[in-house]
């Protein structure tokens, strides 16, 4: 029994391991980077792979962040989330193709403006689509996981077919805007400009999400709702409205991720969202369902792992991420940053 009076808490002397424990998930990222450096003898290759791993991680984070909140808040399993990735990519690419003059010009400002318009178009389209998807497909199956899985997968198939109807069955190739082609050389390593943009954008979105969740009342409601939605309602907040808002924002972010991903691969297809879902689910699960921070760290780990292993041992690249998931779940069964749920 503790003898410390409750009004004057005393700080227990914690061992180094205890102090580090809460930071362990964050530390995994630099640990993996250092492990990469040890495994990859060539420093410049390592730097190139690290940047491309981080870029990939940021894009997965964009695509996955909405899904983790949607699950955390309303316990909704949305297998159709990939549909927003695909639609975002197609809308974005269509906008870029229309703005050929701006993307073809060797001006960074014009190129970024074109990308900005493509991103806005994609996010508006996927946000609106998220609103409809929630209303028509998700709302009728609240509280029924099996039905959610079936119905949202059905929704995904419908959307994929709609994409084929609207844009045709062929993949669409797209080249990156002129000023974002190629690489810059840093410390002897080639760093693709586009990847640096992706890293920057991911950081900005993550910081904005964190700020919203920590510093605004809406953010408080979302975080509280992930833990105990019933109590949030008993305090007078209409959780359903908040959830619809989160669903729309999450869909729009997936759309943003889709544009970035499409330009990264320089080709878009109706199935690209579905293909990305494997990585997205891995990231959401190892991060801890409902945790945006966990999702972010998980995405960086997956991106780095994928790139390092693809360089060292290409055959096991995808397996390596499953291995990562198994290892993390053995260490923390509820994910790296588990969200305490009521009951």
């Amino acid at each position: 029994m503790s003898m410390a009076p409750e009004h004057a808490p005393t700080m227990a002397r914690l061992s180094l391991a205890q102090r580090l424990a809460p930071w362990m998930p964050v530390l995994l990222v630099p640990l993996l980077v250092v492990a990469g450096l040890l495994a990859i003898p060539n420093t410049s290759s390592w730097l190139t792979l690290t940047v491309s791993g981080l870029a990939m991680g940021m894009m997965i984070f964009l695509m996955a962040s909405g899904l983790t909140l949607v699950f955390g808040l309303m316990d909704v399993i949305n297998f159709g989330h990939g549909a927003f990735v695909s639609v975002g990519a197609f809308v974005g690419v269509s906008v870029l193709l229309m703005l050929g003059g701006m993307t073809g010009a060797p001006s960074l400002a014009l190129n970024l403006a074109a990308m900005g318009l493509a991103v806005i178009g994609a996010m508006l389209a996927t946000g609106a689509m998220g609103w409809a998807f929630e209303k028509v497909i998700v709302k009728p199956v609240y509280g029924h996981h099996l039905k959610q899985i079936l119905v949202t997968m059905g929704g995904l198939i419908v959307v994929e077919q709609l994409i084929i109807v609207l844009w045709g069955p062929e993949e669409i190739y797209i080249s990156r805007p002129e000023a974002l082609k190629g690489a810059i050389t840093f410390a002897g390593a080639a760093l693709e400009k586009y990847r640096l943009v992706a890293v920057g954008l991911g950081l900005v979105v993550f910081a904005a999400m964190r700020w919203t969740l920590r510093r605004t009342k809406i953010g408080l409601i979302v975080r509280a709702g992930v833990e105990n939605g019933e109590m949030v309602q008993a305090l007078g907040y209409r959780l359903r409205l908040v959830f619809v808002g989160v669903f729309i924002a999450g869909s729009a972010l997936a759309g943003l991720g889709g544009v970035m991903w499409g330009l990264y691969q320089e080709v878009v297809s109706a199935h690209m969202g579905n293909q990305a879902m494997i990585l997205i689910f891995i990231v959401v699960i190892i991060g801890g369902l409902g945790s945006v921070e966990g999702c972010f760290i998980g995405a960086l780990l997956v991106g780095l792992m994928q790139n390092y292993v693809a360089f060292l041992e290409p055959k096991v690249a995808l397996i390596s991420n499953i291995g990562l998931m198994v290892a993390i779940l053995m260490w923390r069964p509820m994910g790296m940053i588990p969200v305490v749920k009521a009951k």
């Binding site: 409750e6 509280a224 833990e227 109590m231 305090l235 007078g236 209409r238 969200v339």
Partner: protein
């Protein structure tokens, strides 16, 4: 006497296939503390959850100040001025004490004077204002749960077993806070198993058994009648 702040008329509530409430009739007079008593599992918590709208009455009516709230969504009931302290406390463990309180003040920024009053009733909340609520002790969590209801003036407070599992010293802290709330003229429906607390705070009492109110009247009357207690709740308060 004026109209009651809360009235339940023949409320039936089913949970899954079980008939839990079977015709609850209950009145909470304005500006008084009404005790809801009864053995374990008779439906006290279910009654409070039905009032706040977590469970739905299948039959009967719930009237808040004469207004029918039976089918109102929970957030609307809360906005109509009902403060709820659930049996499991409903603390947001990942949020700080401050964030818990900010959320509880749903109609705007926390009133400074009211917050001072809460701090004076529950000093640990001030000490741990910036800490995560999940790190609080059980008693401190219960303080936070009640403080969340107290942080704004409500028309009715629903409080479910605020002294459950607490050490005697903290029980008296809780009782003092509830007495202060009562002194402000609050209307409270209180579930409480600790009889000395119930006797000290209650103005009127309703005793439940098997999903119905089987006795209601003055708390004083129940407190002094050992055989009545024996008959209604299977034990007498004098033993405590």
């Amino acid at each position: 006497m004026s109209d009651p702040i809360l009235r339940l008329e023949g409320v039936y509530t089913n949970i899954a296939q079980y008939h839990i409430l079977q015709g609850v009739d209950l009145e909470v007079p304005r500006g008084a503390v009404t005790m809801l008593l009864g053995r374990n599992g008779v439906g006290k918590t279910t009654t409070l959850r039905t009032i706040i709208g977590h469970w739905r009455a299948h039959q009967g009516r719930v009237l808040l100040d004469g207004q029918d709230i039976t089918r109102m969504p929970t957030p609307a009931i809360a906005r109509a001025g009902v403060g709820f302290v659930p049996e499991d406390m409903g603390i947001f463990a990942n949020l700080t004490v401050e964030e818990n309180m900010v959320l509880a003040a749903a109609s705007g920024p926390i009133d400074g004077a009211r917050l001072d009053w809460v701090f004076q009733a529950f000093p640990p909340l001030k000490t741990f204002w910036k800490s995560e609520a999940g790190n609080l002790s059980g008693g401190q969590k219960q303080m936070l749960s009640i403080a969340r209801a107290m942080v704004e003036e409500r028309r009715l407070y629903l409080i479910d077993e605020p002294t459950k599992g607490l050490a005697p010293a903290i029980v008296s802290t809780m009782a003092r806070a509830l007495r202060e709330l009562k002194a402000q003229g609050a209307s409270i429906l209180l579930v409480e198993q600790n009889f000395s607390v119930a006797r000290a705070l209650g103005d009127t009492a309703c005793v439940m058994d098997d999903g119905r109110i089987v006795w209601s009247g003055e708390m004083r009357e129940l407190a002094t009648d050992a055989s009545l207690q024996e008959r209604l709740m299977g034990l007498s308060m004098e033993a405590h």
